[in-house]
């Protein structure tokens, strides 16, 4: 049975950074992922990473922008940690080999991004996430003797000992179907968000809320789950992301009348207001009949105002995306976009070292909620979040591991239970619905009722639908009865994870009777600090979600009205 000081589940940026930090801290480390690490969804992050590295900048300015972007729901102690450590982390990545683009002086170039008071986004063309992810994987290959890699291993549940401490995980090797129990002094969840609970979404098919649901089932509270980011620029048909870097480089948003409608809501920052603000403004244009294209369901993003050479050099990927996925040459004509589900600010509640309330269980990256993003994440802060808190979790877990012995849990019960769960799915009779049908209905329900604008009625109806889908999912049948690369059975497990995440999101959105950040309640359109300047925590109590609250940490920035 494999034993490690630190077991990391998920091998995107947060997981790989945690692995390197834990190994540096002297721990024996394993990193496990249901896909090959470079397929992780961090690869799709395009625009860049924020850090106050310019001599004219100050991390406090970055922190204030982040607090304001969060609509004052972010915890300011955590935001201070993230922003003050950002410059050092970015330099460390540069030294590791990330090919950050340079200015004429040969220093790292910085581009403008939404909600930022100055240019502070370092970038590699518009493939920043890919460049970071691949460079971290280079380091994992370099350190292959100190970091064990379990690539294409699907984690099915977390192991808890008799004290309720996390002491490992159960996983299935995708290639062989073999189930294995991994014992670990510490487990770090770093397996991303739950975007696939929405349809459409910018997120990859692998982003199914596995870590959030496994932690929730193990008893860890989820926080800020109602805060779901809709990115302002996604392709109308497929929901594919067009980077905010486009607007950072100067692109405009236009309605059917050719108006830059952002001047109505954000006269100063215009297209570079924070994402919740821009997405709402777009949705209002569409709802009021000023959209473009078929059904007037889109908005024009006009990149032609950016010099063509600059577009080809710095926005190459979206030139390709426009050509291949929308049939548009963005250097010659505007492209049709709309808001689309992109990121969940919420996740497993952690402190600034990535610790969850369950001893031995850490979380970092999109799976976690520290909370540095609060009600709305700023563009180019998510890569930063993964790296800062991935590293901190790895360091802390390594230190904790050094001071304790290897747990010796009875893993057989867990192995048997998960094995039986999968076996039950494999042998279900072919009645009821297919997994894919249920998943589609879940995604469409979330996108209809738990999107940019929400209200009591829609949320209630979503909750009822989710309840029914949960029952249907318990009986859903699959085709593949084999063991080698049985993606079908894993898809059924993922559906269960997504339903848990969706339910927590809707319950929290119903609970928060105000509008803040990404949560806009048309029945409660005002922000109400006296009542709602607090986090909503969702815990599993018996079979259902239970709501509680926790305070927002305020250090130096008192809530004020948010204007861009």
């Amino acid at each position: 049975m494999p034993q490690h000081d630190v077991l990391i589940i998920g091998a995107g940026l947060a997981g790989q950074r945690a692995a390197l930090a834990a190994a540096q801290g002297g721990a024996s480390v394993a990193i496990m992922s249901k896909v090959h690490p470079v397929r992780s969804h961090s690869v799709a992050a395009a625009g860049g990473i924020n850090a106050a590295i310019s001599v004219d900048d100050d991390w406090r300015s970055h922190a204030y922008d982040t607090v304001k972007g969060s609509d004052f729901l972010g915890d300011q102690d955590a935001i201070e940690v993230m922003c003050s450590e950002a410059p050092h982390e970015v330099m460390h990545l540069e030294h590791m080999g990330v090919t950050f683009h340079r200015n004429e002086k040969g220093e790292m170039d910085l581009r403008a991004f939404g909600g930022a008071s100055m240019k502070r986004t370092a970038y590699v063309a518009d493939i920043t996430g890919q460049a970071l992810l691949h460079v971290l994987y280079e380091q994992l290959m370099k350190h292959h003797e100190t970091v064990a890699r379990y690539e294409e291993w699907f984690t099915t549940s977390l192991l808890l000992d008799e004290h309720g401490h996390c002491c490992g995980a159960i996983a299935r090797e995708v290639r062989s179907g073999h189930m294995e129990a991994f014992t670990a002094k510490n487990v770090i969840l770093a397996c991303g968000g739950a975007g696939q609970a929405y349809k459409p979404t910018t997120n990859g098919l692998i982003v199914t809320g596995d870590g959030i649901a496994m932690a929730y089932r193990a008893g860890a509270p989820l926080m800020d789950m109602e805060m779901v980011q809709y990115h302002p620029t996604c392709l109308v048909e497929t929901g594919i992301l067009i980077t905010e870097g486009a607007r950072g480089e100067g692109a405009h948003l236009l309605n059917a009348n050719g108006e830059r409608f952002m001047e109505k809501t954000a006269p100063n920052k215009m297209e570079l207001a924070s994402r919740d603000v821009v997405s709402r403004a777009e949705q209002i244009e569409i709802n009021e009949g000023r959209g473009v294209g078929p059904n007037k369901a889109g908005i024009f993003l006009d990149v032609t105002v950016v010099p063509r050479r600059r577009t080809l050099e710095a926005l190459r990927e979206i030139v390709n995306l426009g050509r291949d996925f929308a049939g548009v040459d963005i250097t010659r004509e505007p492209i049709m976009i709309r808001p689309g589900q992109h990121y969940i600010m919420g996740g497993v509640k952690t402190d600034i070292d990535g610790r969850t309330p369950i001893e031995g269980l850490y979380a970092a990256g999109e799976v976690a909620c520290v909370s540095v993003h609060g009600g709305n994440r700023l563009g180019a802060n998510s890569l930063l979040d993964t790296l800062i808190f991935g590293r901190r979790a790895g360091e802390h877990a390594a230190a904790r591991a050094a001071a304790m012995g290897m747990p010796e849990p009875d893993v057989n019960a867990g192995l048997r239970e998960d094995g039986a769960r999968l076996e039950a799915i494999l042998t279900r009779p072919r009645e009821g619905r297919r997994v894919s049908e249920i998943k589609n209905e879940l995604g469409e329900t979330m996108n209809r009722h738990v999107a940019v604008f929400r209200d009591e009625q829609g949320l209630q109806s979503a909750l009822e639908t989710i309840g029914r889908l949960r029952e249907e999912a318990d009986k859903a049948w699959i085709d593949d009865r084999g063991t080698v690369f049985n993606q079908d059975v894993l898809g059924a497990v993922e559906l269960g994870f997504m339903i848990d995440c969706a339910e927590a999101t809707v319950v929290a959105a119903l609970e928060r009777k105000e509008s803040r950040g990404a949560q806009f309640r048309t029945d409660f359109p005002e922000r109400k600090d006296e009542e709602w300047l607090k986090h909503i925590d969702i815990s599993l109590n018996g079979d259902g979600p239970e709501v509680s609250y926790s305070p927002v940490t305020i250090t130096q920035w008192q809530p004020e009205e948010r204007k861009y």
């Binding site: 080999g97 290959m141 250097t331």
Partner: protein, 376 residues
Amino acid sequence: MAEAHDRPPEKFTLRLRRYDPESGEAPYWDEHTVELEPHRSVLEAILQAKDRFDGSIGIRCSCRQAICGSCGIRVNGEPALACHTHLDAAKASASGGVIEIEPMGNMPVIKDLIVDMDAVHWKKIQRVTPWLLAKQPVPEREYIVSKESMVDVTQTMACIQCGACVSDCLAMEVDPGFIGPAALAKAYRFVGDPRDDEQFERLNDLAQDPQGIFDCTHCFKCVEACPKDVNPMGQIMRLRRKATQDHHIVDQNNGERHEAAFASLIESNGILWEAELIPRSYGGNSWFGKFAPAAGKELVASIPTAVRGLLRGKMTIPKILKPHKIPSQDLKAVRSIYELIESRPERYELNLYIAGEDEAPTPASAAAGAEGSSEQ
């Protein structure tokens, strides 16, 4: 262009190469008909078949936008990303209108469209020391390097490790030990990085390896296969130029001498003189090359090939003794190309990220500007 995206759904038939390692049966073909708009991707078609008809179809996929590199397959025999191939284009290149879908080549199949990339692709990546060997001392802030150098290596950073080039590499088909296009492109990412301290060591390693940079046969398959315009063969050629011209590495595989002989024979004759190529490649780059002992050995070894050429009429005695002739104005044109290239102070290196595309305002941006000014 955008109108192409308004067409209604059509039926598409997929012919999938299936393999179930647990069945004990040989691979077989499986057909499914799906309905989608013609500009949708082959991946969406496969996923529709998987969702509606048979969930056991195995394919790796995630992002649906050609960035995660999971869904490398072969469509009608050509390597491609499933998510990056439009159904109408796939149908147009299919024989009989049925889109044929197979796993990638040059790698063992695990199940259906899923291949063992660890056994081939990742092993080769590991071979090229795929991490930065940073110049010391490490600066306090960032390394100061030119803007162009970082844009330049972005082309190889853009590789998504999908394996399409590996699937189609002809040299690897013949010599499975060839380091191959993806791993050598990865090598360029470090050789071209001014922060790396071991450029000579890297180049020397890859030049001396009999399965390294000189093992590439220049067939362009990887260039066509790459969905991200990484141009792997171009990166291999850049590694060769850096090894030979910048670092003067003379490799044991005779790659450097062979290239020099090739270039000088074309310069003097305008066309290749095959009979002189081997002796000059081995014996030294002049007419006297053939009298060097190394050349003699190679010449003796190549006698069977030469005899076969003579018997089949591909080679004649006069062609062996004298260079082929081309018209003198053509020879002049060839030589002027040499003069042009050699007169340049720096070597031209093509890169899609810095292709020198026009900087003039486009008609669209001029129109947008006009619209903007008329806004009230």
